[in-house]
């Protein structure tokens, strides 16, 4: 489409229930009570001139351009700050208003460089537009007086520049940072003529700014401008698509010149983000055209051989033949595949179909195995389906928000901004986390309770909260009686009231004072709307699934399910974790979470596919590695994942990958896993894909191709060709046809099609005859399984304990500017913020070891040892250290272990017993990873 310019009605919509009718320039208009005159005029078809107003921000009333006349009122009120009233008669265009507006504009322009023709915003500048709209023809004041035209530019940020000479001090950037992003990094410094926008007493790069870009988007001039626009000019066309980073799933306008992306602008109509973005989504897309991209298929006999570029035909026939040979020699179950949450639903569905029909087994698993598989298990057991209960918007109605094992300001920043808005408006906050994450205390937000538990004790804390609620008579027994299974509740009630589950009994285990747990439980039970948001700090534990069930129990116990403002909400790590799970890429489930043992379900697929589906589960990812080392598993197809960096106990992973006869990697880059591959099939970036992603709120969003595949083929086409070459003809005419097949086979997707998504924007599953436009909030009136099921959640401590040899507990996680294994973000300017993984150490633990800020330290566990630079941080509790896994050279997962969730095998990334020691200063060793025993270096160093 041509460049999509979204309407800006000046002030936000007012959700008032009553309608008010007024007249604007003689035209009657009816709007909700509380609407501004400016917005009412826009809705009536009249745009009142404005500069400081934009409909993403509350009215400010500073620019004095939007003046109007109102019958019966004196003066010329600002239309942005004047609410409508019944019978009001408004004039937006009179000789007096014309004169006043021209006068205001004349003053603005008298201190603005007249370089419009060479300005990056030429043609896309509200100041320029307004000068035209008010008919400004001369500036009488001249330019000889005091002005700001020589103010120095700040180009420190890698993605945008700040040119104060062009600033009109409308405060839109400051307000965007305050109200939309919630970082409060910007301010208006000085008074009167000396007023200027400033990122504190420093430049943008050195400031608190998180580079979300909201200020750039809000700026009506070229004061804050994308460097890409400065370089390439203003864009000319738009493609609506979806971000490929975290599970928030932001909608974007990809704005282009030809096939060149100029900028990504968050889409106001995007259901998940409503016009906001983070530094990754808005700016960090340059990896898609990075020179490291591989666009030609390659093969080699052994992974130590050099690659040989080949044609697609040769790569596909070679792959199919080698897979078949393995099956002939070692049996049908000797091969399998891993699907990726970074790929579209259509690509994932194609891979799992290839495995079940062409490979003829169920050896398909997805990377959700190592992040949110316990969510699937826990929520299905209690509520009946494997997904979060709410839409993101629901948080606007929450009174109490409990964030457990999640760090949304880093990992889900756009949702975090929405949550912070609600917290600033008065909602109470409970944080359950070993670390003092930003949300605990951030501008205008302070958690009522921070339960700073020891890693590995989530279940104990959740049980103690439930115990308190029941024992103190705070349960919603009416909800339980009406909505939940009585027998299961009785059993659970006896279990949870056992004194062993009291906060007092458990505080020695959790490290959280009983009084704090009781107070937090009372707050959660009081609500009236209490919502739980959680992340991998819940799931990546030996009792990840149990903790998910524990949260579901809490929500049912207090009746906090089935309406706005409540629920149990997993914050999914990657963009399409929800979708890759929905698409049937777990080895025990077909699409829509239906077990392969269900004969009726299998029959449906067998009829559609014309091929039998096995009735026993296949191998999960960790089991694949075990089987590879054992020799039973010989061939693996890896779609878009980097298991040799992301999966735990890398020495074991590398041993497994090295054992394979055939490793096929489909990816953008030659990642760590590809170093052990025999076939490399080049993949496509999100800018080349046609399909859908599903975010953490079950929202199915379209991913539209901005440019043709640089490889010449869609990934699903490659998969189809391999399946066909193996003797199972598999083809679709388009990605849309794949979704049609998903819809035919999956009741919760029965009403989904590309056509519908293109018409309505997005839908949240279930989307079917009952809910043709989707289901924002689930379990309204009744649970998916009918009655809610309380599950007993005994606390079973992890086997991973601190010892005298490994006295600290390491927990790992993510940071704002990098994403997962960093394959994408490391190939962008985001490197400026986080170019290496750092170890956070509590000051006392550091002092005990003689460690000071920036020292290089060994981090050793029972399975491996790495080196990192240390940062002394009071965010950490004593006894716990923290790092990220974004850089392969760090080899963070060299030290994480084989321990996993009891129910799903999700790795226990959050608890590893380690020792930290200063690296002797001389001779300075190479930074990188090494194994402890046997003394075999894990080949991730120096990557």
């Amino acid at each position: 489409m041509t460049l999509l310019r979204e309407p800006d009605r000046g002030t936000p919509s007012a959700p008032g229930p009553e309608t008010v009718t007024l007249e604007i320039d003689g035209i009657p208009v009816s709007v909700p009570e509380g609407t501004s005159v400016m917005r009412a005029a826009a809705l009536a078809g009249t745009d009142v001139p404005k500069l400081c107003a934009t409909d993403s921000l509350a009215a400010f009333g500073s620019c004095r351009l939007c003046l109007v006349e109102i019958d019966g009122q004196r003066g010329t009120p600002a239309s942005c700050t004047t609410p409508v009233a019944a019978g009001m008669r408004v004039s937006t265009q009179t000789p007096r208003l014309d004169r006043l507006r021209r006068g205001v504009m004349e003053l603005y322009i008298s201190d603005h460089p007249l370089d419009c023709l060479t300005c990056p915003a030429n043609g896309d500048c509200e100041l320029q537009d307004m000068a035209g709209a008010v008919g400004l023809r001369e500036v009488r004041y001249g330019y000889a007086g005091a002005n700001h035209l020589d103010a120095a530019k700040d180009t420190s940020n890698p993605y945008f520049e700040f040119d104060p000479a062009k600033c009109i001090v409308c405060s839109r950037c400051v307000r965007a940072c305050d109200d939309i992003q919630g970082t409060l990094a910007l301010t208006i410094e000085g008074r009167g003529f000396g007023s200027k926008v400033a990122p504190g007493p420093t430049d943008f790069l050195g400031s608190e700014c998180v580079s979300c870009g909201a200020c750039v988007q809000a700026c009506p001039t070229s004061t804050l401008q994308e460097k890409a626009v400065v370089l390439s000019g203003t864009p000319r066309r738009t493609v609506l698509t979806t971000c490929a980073y975290c599970g928030v799933g932001c909608s974007f306008k990809a704005e282009l010149n030809g096939e060149q992306v100029v900028r990504m602008v968050p889409y106001k109509d995007g259901g998940a983000n409503e016009g906001h973005s983070c530094v990754k989504g808005r700016f960090a897309w340059g990896y898609a055209t990075h020179p490291d991209r591989i666009t030609t298929p390659m093969i080699r006999e052994h992974f130590t051989d050099p690659w040989r570029p080949v044609s697609w035909e040769e790569a596909i026939s070679h792959t199919a033949r080698r897979l078949q040979e393995i099956q002939e020699r070692h049996g049908g179950a000797a091969i399998g595949a891993i699907t990726s949450s970074r790929c579209t639903n259509e690509e994932v569905f194609a891979v799992q179909k290839m495995v079940r029909a062409a490979f003829g087994n169920n050896n398909v698993d997805t990377c959700a195995r190592v992040c949110h598989s316990p969510t699937g298990f826990g929520l299905k057991s209690t509520f009946g389906t494997s997904a979060g209960t709410q839409d993101f918007k629901s948080v606007d109605a929450a009174d109490v928000i409990m964030v457990i094992g999640a760090n949304p300001t880093d990992a889900h920043p756009v949702f975090a901004s929405r949550m912070k808005r609600r917290l600033r408006a008065g909602a109470k906050l409970i944080v359950v986390d070993p670390r003092r994450i930003d949300l605990v205390r951030t501008p205008h937000i302070e958690a009522s309770y921070h339960l700073q538990l020891m890693p590995g004790t989530n279940v104990a804390v959740l049980n103690a909260m439930a115990h308190t609620i029941l024992a103190e008579g705070l349960a919603n027994r009416a909800f339980v009686a009406e909505r939940c299974e009585a027998d299961a509740f009785e059993v659970w009630e006896r279990f949870i009231l056992d004194p062993a589950n009291s906060p007092e009994a458990l505080e020695v285990v959790t490290g959280v004072p009983a009084a704090a747990v009781r107070a937090a439980a009372r707050l959660y039970a009081a609500g009236p709307n209490s919502a739980i948001y959680y992340g991998l700090g819940v799931t990546e534990h030996s009792q990840g699934s149990t903790a998910v069930m524990g949260m579901a129990n809490l929500a049912m116990l207090t009746g906090n399910i089935g309406r706005d403002g409540v629920g149990v909400n997993p914050l999914r790590g990657q963009n399409n974790v929800q979708g890759s799970c929905d698409m049937g890429s777990f080895p025990h489930e077909l699409s829509g979470y239906r077990h392969v043992a269900d004969a009726a379900v299998r029959e449906q697929f067998e009829s559609e596919w014309g091929h039998p589906v096995l009735d026993r589960p296949g191998l999960r990812i960790p089991n694949m590695f075990d089987a590879a080392i054992d020799g039973a598993f010989r061939g693996l197809f890896v779609q878009g994942e980097d298991v040799a960096q992301s999966d735990p106990n890398l020495q074991h992973v590398v041993a497994a990958l090295s054992s394979l006869e055939l490793l096929v990697v489909q990816d953008l880059f030659e990642n760590e896993t590809a170093k052990f591959a025999h076939v490399f099939l080049p993949g496509t970036s999100f800018l080349e894909k046609d399909g859908t992603f599903i975010n953490a709120e079950r929202r199915i969003n379209r991913v539209r191709p901005v440019m043709p595949p640089r490889t010449g083929k869609s990934e699903w086409e490659v998969v189809c060709e391999i399946a066909t070459a193996m003797g199972y003809p598999m083809s679709w005419g388009s990605a849309s046809e794949i979704m049609d097949e998903v819809a035919r086979l999956t009741p919760t997707f029965a009403g989904v099609s590309f056509d519908k998504l293109d018409r309505v924007g997005s839908v949240q599953w279930p989307c079917n005859e009952t809910a043709p436009l989707g289901t924002p909030v689930m379990h309204v009136g009744k649970f998916v399984r009918g009655l809610g099921h309380f599950m007993e959640t005994p606390f079973v401590p992890t086997d991973e304990r601190s010892t005298s040899r490994y006295p600290l507990l390491l927990t790992t996680g993510r940071i704002l500017t990098q994403y997962n294994v960093g394959a994408q973000t490391r190939r962008t300017a985001n490197q400026v913020w986080h170019h290496e993984d750092i170890l956070d150490v509590h000051p006392h633990d550091a002092e005990d070891r003689g460690i000071t800020e920036g020292d290089l330290v060994y981090v050793a566990s029972r399975v491996g040892r790495i080196q990192l630079h240390a940062r002394i941080s009071e965010r950490m509790p004593q006894g716990v250290v923290y790092t990220t896994f974004h850089h392969p050279i760090s080899g963070t997962n060299v030290v994480t272990t084989e321990n996993s969730d009891w129910a799903t095998n999700c790795p226990e990334y959050k608890v590893t017993a380690v020792q930290v020691q200063l690296v002797p200063p001389a001779p300075a060793p190479e930074k990188g990873a090494e194994a402890v025993a046997p003394a075999e270096p894990v080949p991730v160093a120096g990557a």
Binding site: A333, N362, N363, F495, S542, Q543, T546, P587, H588, H595, A597, R616, P617, G618, L619, R620, P622, N623, D626, A627, I629, D630, G631, A632, H652, E792, P794, V796, D799, E898, S900, W902, A903, T904, N905
Partner: protein, 77 residues
């Protein structure tokens, strides 16, 4: 091929962990729940290896797992 000790340990560790999470129930119920979990989520290759561990004396295996393994021989209810 003889299973490697390392991967044998994986089944032992995982099965014992599953047992630990059902141990709060009476033995019969817990054994049935362990068996049901294994049947639902473990691939035949893993179940065969578990069976071999049991057949070789079950050293290190939780007794609940041994009882569950016996139930696996019978079809699910």
């Amino acid at each position: 091929m003889t299973p490697s000790p390392e991967s044998e340990l994986a089944e032992l560790r995982m099965a014992n962990q599953i047992a630990a999470n059902f141990r709060h129930h009476p033995d019969d119920q817990a054994a049935a729940e362990v068996a049901n979990h294994l049947r639902s989520f473990w691939t035949p290759w893993m179940l065969e290896r578990l069976e071999r561990l049991v057949d070789s004396g079950g050293e290190g295996l939780d007794p609940l797992v041994v009882r569950a393994a016996a139930l696996l021989a019978t079809p699910a209810a």
